[in-house]
Amino acid sequence: MVVPAAKRPTVPEAAAAPALTPRLLTGWGRTAATLGYVSSPTSAQDVGRALGAAGSRGVVARGLGRSYGDPAQNAGGAVLDMTALTGIHRLDLEGRTVTVAAGTSLDALMRALVPSGLLLPVMPGTRLVSVGGAIAADVHGKNHHRDGGFADHVTSMVLMVPDGRRLVLTPDGTPDAFRATGGGMGLTGVILEATLRLLPIETSWISVDTERADDVDDLMERMAGSDHRYRYSVAWVDGTARRRGLGRAVLTRGDHAPIDALPASARRDPLRFDPKPLVGVPAGVPGWLLGAMATRAFNAGWYRKAPREEHARPRRMASFFHPLDAVANWNRLYGRRGFVQYQFVVPDGEEAALRGILERLAGYGHASFLTVLKRFGPGSGLLSFPIPGWTLAVDVPARPAGLGPLLDSFDRRVADAGGRVYLAKDGRMRPEAVSAMYPELERWRQIRAELDPGGLMRSDQARRLGLTDGPRLRASTGAVSR
């Protein structure tokens, strides 16, 4: 169902906004909990009423809570839990598009689409994100170097702005609002539904080439040299290896497997897709479990167990795209204090900055458990994270006292290199860092202010980073380029 722009929904006076439940919320990193008033709208009308009832602390939509930091929480204000607004509204098999409610998870969508031979063209590292969240963060997959980000495959979406209007946004019809919303961290309004372009697939398997790289230079050479030949490419890096082994990695690249590449047993049902979580992590796991020693041992073991070179091995999509989804609540492994994921991108030619950060991290007492390197192509949204170059993601426990200053110094290094840090993973950056990294921030602020003149859309991240501060130029503090 698509309602044309400028048509106001009729909200009966008597209709009450959905009930509010106070809840302590955090992101996936389980840091910095704040209290928000959560409601679960089950219809667009509910969303309209919730927006109308929001107070001075504002409102933000929340999906499946997979942002690592604080973008999907709103201390003292309203939080719309969108996960009740689910379902496929329309599936166009010929045109290969699907129209879905924003709260639908990519997991549910894949389970519905893959058996029909269709796939989302961009697959983030977990299926447990909502479509609305995937657009708001403009998430990327292992194919960004070729296919762009999630929002690049949205042909249209319906955005409810705070005054209750439903706007139909398309890349060509409403380029400003579209580019401000894709990657806009939920601050332009509430995404109600989206139409996504789909990719035809013959099987639910990926044909994977695996190779090991001896160090970070070897790795980057291999990726720069031949990533363009693969649809999907990702390098798992041993973040604990130092000196001559710095950045040694297992590089896995592949493309969709044709049916004759499948093991015989799989050919009868080549589009089968029903992944299940293998194990779950209970609440209350102590944080020392993922201590420096365990991290080192795990990383060294992973590297050694990988084949030095392997060609065209068929792997199920779930294990190739979403290995961590097999471990339910893996974020609990970091204990009560939680963890921080730091992901940045630097442009081609700034490999030295990446190497420098990797070096500092490897020498740091609390090594990264999971370190991932990927290539990016150009991004599209005004606040979209990707720019052509190299992106590195690391996980570190939030505990050590020196972590803040260390990451602040990385922010400066990244900004100086013309790179940026991923807002969907951020829970700790400073306002001046974001201004230095995102050159279109002012433009985004202007468009955002037009969509939400009352400044109702708010999140903890927006407050922390001053994202929604008036569309004006902030005096530079010089703190980033210093």
Binding site: A32, A33, L35, G76, G404, R430, D460
Partner: protein, 252 residues
């Protein structure tokens, strides 16, 4: 709010002229706190601290006039401290030691100590807690004292004022549990500062830097009870169980 690594950006200090407060604010500014409100009586005394914060860390500093004994002004002062943005951390650091022997004979002197340390702090904490609850996050750090742990002949007027404050804050912290607001009670032992100038240091005494370090670490971790130095927890735990007849003979 606190960020993912436990740092705070906005801080309000009541009793900012205290040595411990100054030390703590400098440490917080060095770690990224960029907006600080300093509240104290005769706030012009804070100028050197404010100037240091501005030049060294580029902190934005605002000084406001605050009299712990002028209870009827506290609502307005707290509202001023919270004006325009959230406050991530409130530090309640004011207090007077008083003259114990004078206070034993002069009712007004005793009332003065209790008024400032207990009534004044409660009067500030109630509106602070309300504002923090409304913003859905925050940390309140209150300076208590080991002297509040058990009444002693040598300083029971001061000690009882801190005992009252300590109990108030424990209950407040439990009341605010689940609201996103944390109340941290800091119990330093003997701290070498201008409050104790001229007194001879005791065993297990601490410096203002020790207290500041402990406060910042507690803010980071969300710890609710802090002893400075940490050994005092065990010492006081033992002393609590010493019979009165023996306790009163101890030279403490």
């Amino acid at each position: 709010m606190k960020d993912a690594v436990g740092s705070v950006a906005t801080v309000a200090v009541f009793g900012a002229a205290s040595d411990i407060a100054g030390e703590t604010v400098r440490l917080l500014a060095s770690q990224g706190a960029r907006d600080v409100v300093l509240a104290a009586r005769k706030s012009e005394r804070l100028e050197p601290l404010a100037a240091g914060l501005r030049t060294e860390w580029g902190t934005s500093v605002r000084m406001i006039e605050f009299d712990a004994d002028a209870f009827d002004t506290h609502d307005a002062v707290v509202a001023d401290a919270f004006r325009g943005r959230d406050v991530d951390l409130v530090l309640v650091a004011f207090g007077v030691l008083g003259d114990q022997s004078a206070a034993e004979q002069d009712g007004e002197a005793a009332i003065g100590v209790v008024q400032t340390n207990f009534v004044g702090a409660v009067s500030v904490l109630v509106p602070v807690a309300e504002r923090m609850r409304a913003q859905g996050h925050g940390t309140i750090v209150v300076l208590s004292s080991v002297a509040g742990e058990r009444g002693r002949a040598s300083n029971f007027v001061y000690g009882s004022s801190k005992a009252g404050l300590d109990a108030f804050c424990q209950g407040l912290g439990d009341r605010l549990h689940g609201s996103g607001v944390t109340v941290t009670v800091v119990r330093p032992g003997f701290v070498m500062s201008k409050m104790t100038a001229g007194m001879s240091p005791r065993p297990l005494s601490a410096s203002t830097e020790d207290v500041a370090d402990a406060i910042v670490a507690a803010v980071r971790s969300g710890r609710e009870t802090v002893w400075v130095p940490p050994t005092l927890r065990w010492v006081m735990s033992a002393l609590r169980h010493v019979p009165r007849s023996a306790f009163r003979r101890l030279d403490l």
